[in-house]
């Protein structure tokens, strides 16, 4: 079972390349921000699978912290995109 989960982990890491393609080639700056947002959610999935394959439970804590950090980062980028200051 662990071997198959390792293969799935590689598939999930390969999906990040799609997001990197969109970040590099995006025609406008909003496309790049969409790529960054989706990248942050995919990393949570990598953390969840990695906590099974390595049998270390603290990686789920890293996943929860990553959700909150990615959320705050995306809100900051969106606020910058709509032309406001950060303290409004």
């Amino acid at each position: 079972m662990i071997d198959y989960l390792n293969i799935l982990l590689y598939v999930q890491i390969a999906l990040c390349i799609f997001c990197l393609y969109r970040i590099i080639r995006g025609p406008s700056i909003a496309d790049r921000m969409v790529g960054i947002d989706i990248f942050g959610i995919l990393v949570v999935g990598i953390c969840a699978i990695l906590s099974i394959t390595t049998q270390r439970k603290f990686i789920l804590d890293i996943g929860i912290a990553w959700i909150i950090l990615s959320f705050i980062g995306t809100l900051t980028l969106a606020k910058y995109l709509s032309g406001k200051k950060l303290n409004e």
């Binding site: 079972m1 198959y4 989960l5 799935l8 598939v11 999930q12 999906l15 799609f18 997001c19 393609y21 969109r22 406008s28 700056i29 909003a30 496309d31 921000m33 969409v34 790529g35 947002d37 989706i38 959610i41 995919l42 949570v44 999935g45 969840a48 699978i49 906590s51 099974i52 439970k57 789920l60 804590d61 996943g63 929860i64 959700i67 909150i68 990615s70 959320f71 995306t74 809100l75 980028l77 969106a78 606020k79 910058y80 995109l81 709509s82 032309g83």
Partner: protein
Amino acid sequence: METIGFIFICTGILFNLFGCIGLIRLPDVYNRLQSATKCVTLGTCSILAGVIFYYGFNDAGFKAIIAIPLLFFAATVAAHALVKGAYIFGVKLGDKSVKDDYKDVPKS
């Protein structure tokens, strides 16, 4: 129990694959955001459900249960902020669009 968790994880990765193909193929920002945020959010929730079935109801299982609604609210609110920011920034709707009610509204 481990088999059920494995099936959930496979389903989640399949949905993630659909979402990322949509991120590549669809023509403008709004459609990309739509396909990607729906499919990737539900795929990651499915992976976390698989982790719940794998560990059972101990401390790691409860952490995965907490992560599901947290991820859900974070992803939807982030998508909402991104689409509004992109509209105010001036990204045009794509060529195939048929209707735009938001054009004449005063933005805040």
